[in-house]
């Protein structure tokens, strides 16, 4: 049995069936992300594991023991919440020491562990400050230290970075990943941000309407979305119907729809040399949008098909609106859904 094992988990709030027969395994030491839009059930599953919600049906196992009906404080799980959940009346030291004091450890040991953990999250000099004196990012790092200092079996992170500004969020993503690997702590991370999931995870489980839509490594999820929803949620896939695509590119991709990543489409003014497995069609540029490092061109093909193509921006625009271009892509990178 895996280190964490969810078995046929169902959760119903009133008439709302939030989790539907979820089976999920997490291996020890991994950082696993539950990814999905809001309301998809990812946070509810996390709260069921924490014991803050009761499952309607199903079983949860942790380290070989069933914990489905165990109260939260006896599960040995640490958690960091979306909003800043530090105790406002206690300073950083007392916040971090809270869980250790409940374990009735000797004072010297508590102090040593608190200082060590604050060192790891880089906040040693803030030890006597109060939460109100810290920035959002610092507060979340204290919350992380507070959750990890008791050496829980599992660390749960419920969108801990969603209230933090973009630049700091990127730094904290890397920081959390570093600390998680340094301590080897099994971690489940909940987010609706696909980039965050890509950066941090060993494994991603994509949630949709209470079910797991797709599971895999970040690379697998990104390059091989299994369903239309997965392709919509991840990356910036073009999702034309297969009929339109096949007509424009004179090919035979199976399925209802076709998923094409904009970065696999190359644009040239001259027709590229014909090769096996290279799909080529001529079209007209209808618009372009700058994303800083990338320019996203929209190209319209015969029959009304429009595809986005990403071109790395060097120092000038190679094409303008109204230009005729050849779009080419490798057939094996085109996914039929």
């Amino acid at each position: 049995m895996a280190y964490i094992h969810f078995e046929k988990i169902n959760k119903i709030f009133g008439t709302n069936h939030v989790l539907k027969d979820i089976d999920l395994d997490v291996e020890k030491g991994q950082l696993v992300t539950l990814l999905g839009p809001s309301g998809c059930g990812k946070s509810t599953l996390l709260r069921c594991l924490a014991g803050l919600e009761q499952v309607t049906d199903g079983h949860i196992y942790l380290d070989g023991q069933e914990i489905t009906d165990v109260v939260p404080r006896r599960r040995g799980i640490g958690m960091v919440f979306q909003q800043y959940s530090l105790f406002p009346n206690m300073n950083v030291r007392d916040n971090v020491a809270y869980g250790l004091k409940l374990k009735k450890l000797p004072k010297a040991e508590i102090n040593q562990k608190v200082e060590q953990m604050l060192d790891i999250v880089g906040l040693s000099e803030k030890i006597s400050q109060y939460p109100a004196q810290l920035s959002g990012g610092q507060q979340q790092r204290v919350a992380l230290a507070r959750a990890m200092v008791t050496a829980p079996k599992v660390l749960l992170l419920d969108e801990p970075l969603s209230a933090i500004d973009a630049l700091l969020r990127k730094n904290l993503q890397i920081e959390i990943r570093r600390i998680q690997q340094q301590l080897g702590i099994t971690t489940i991370f909940v987010t609706h941000d696909q980039d965050e999931a890509m950066v941090m995870s060993d494994m991603i489980h994509l949630f949709h309407e209470g079910k797991i839509e797709q599971s895999g490594t970040p690379e697998q999820i990104y390059t091989r979305p299994a369903t239309k929803f997965a392709a919509t949620f991840i990356g910036n896939y073009n999702l034309p119907t297969a009929a339109d695509f096949n007509r424009a590119f004179h090919t035979d991709i199976p399925g209802q729809d076709v998923a094409v990543r904009p970065e696999i489409v190359t644009l040239t003014k001259q027709a590229p040399k014909a090769e096996d497995g290279l799909l080529v069609a001529e079209g007209t540029i209808t618009s372009h949008i700058s994303h800083g490092n990338l320019i996203r061109f929209a190209v319209e093909f015969e029959g009304g098909l429009t595809l986005n193509a990403d071109v790395v921006y060097e120092n000038k625009l190679d094409f303008g609106e109204g230009d005729r271009v050849f779009a080419a892509m490798k057939k094996d990178l085109v996914i039929g859904l």
Binding site: F87, S128, T150
Partner: protein
């Protein structure tokens, strides 16, 4: 703000302050002089104060006032805290009913309340029909809305459920977490509403007159009797009541600001 309007607003503020303070000052002066029939009072004396402070009835009334103030406040705070804990954590749907229940005493007049309590309980011979029990019970009802509002507003200012969940994940039980994490954070609300309650109960005459037997006397009752004897003595009693109220307020506020100051100092920023 324009300079002219600032001056005029200062004038208005000063006038209002003077208007409010005149009766107070007049009472103090009146209690300190033998005669104040002309414009200038004359014959400075502390006799009125000496008289009331050597009167055991006054000292007893002071002690009993404090007693019948503190006990209901402590009881009501505990009941409201526990009630709000249970309702917020386990039965959030009942919160609006609790609010309605706690607001009802706002609409009840002291006379009606005390007479109703007498009719309902006085004839029985249980512990509820004891005069002191009835009085403390009635005081709990009177201050309930104020205490409830103070505590509830304090709880609204913090994310109580999340703090409780955070403490629970660290290994604490919900009830202990409530007293260790939530209560310290709503202490300001509790303090302010307690002060309001002290003010209300110190000023009560109607309820204590109707409900208490002759051996329970609060300072308002003593004041009423002093008024019959001499108005200068009554003024002295009034001044003492006021000073005690000020002292209680000052002590509570100092304690509170000291703990706040300590936090900031330890914060070291």
């Amino acid at each position: 703000m324009r300079k002219g309007s600032k001056v005029s607003s200062n004038i208005i503020m000063t006038l209002v302050t003077v208007w409010l303070l005149i009766p107070l000052l007049a009472t103090i002066i009146y209690s300190l002089f033998e005669d104040w029939t002309g414009i200038i009072p004359h014959g400075f004396t502390l006799a009125n104060y000496q008289k009331i402070f050597t009167d055991t009835a006054f000292l007893t009334s002071m002690y009993q006032t404090l007693l019948v103030c503190v006990i209901p406040i402590v009881i009501t705070i505990l009941v409201v805290l526990l009630g709000l804990f249970v309702v917020t954590v386990y039965f959030p749907k009942l919160e609006k009913y609790m609010q309605i229940l706690c607001m009802i005493p706002y609409t009840i007049q002291g006379v009606i309340l005390s007479v109703s309590i007498l009719i309902l309980y006085a004839k029985g011979d249980t512990v509820l029909s004891g005069r002191m029990t009835m009085l403390i019970g009635a005081y709990c009802i009177i201050i309930l809305p104020h205490i409830y509002n103070g505590i509830r507003n304090g709880m609204r200012a913090i994310n109580m459920n999340m703090l409780l969940e955070a403490a629970e994940m660290l290994g604490e039980s919900k009830l202990k977490a409530f007293f260790k994490v939530i209560v310290p954070n709503i202490l300001t609300g509790i303090t302010v509403s307690s002060l309001l309650a002290v003010g209300l109960l110190f000023g009560d005459y109607v309820i204590i007159r109707n409900l208490s037997s002759s051996n329970v006397n609060n300072m308002q009752k003593f004041l009423y009797q002093a008024m019959k004897r001499s108005s200068a003595e009554a003024s002295a009693v009034f001044v003492v009541i006021m000073l005690i109220t000020f002292a209680i307020t000052a002590i509570v506020l100092t304690l509170q600001s000291r703990s706040t100051l300590e936090k900031i100092r330890n914060g070291g920023k």
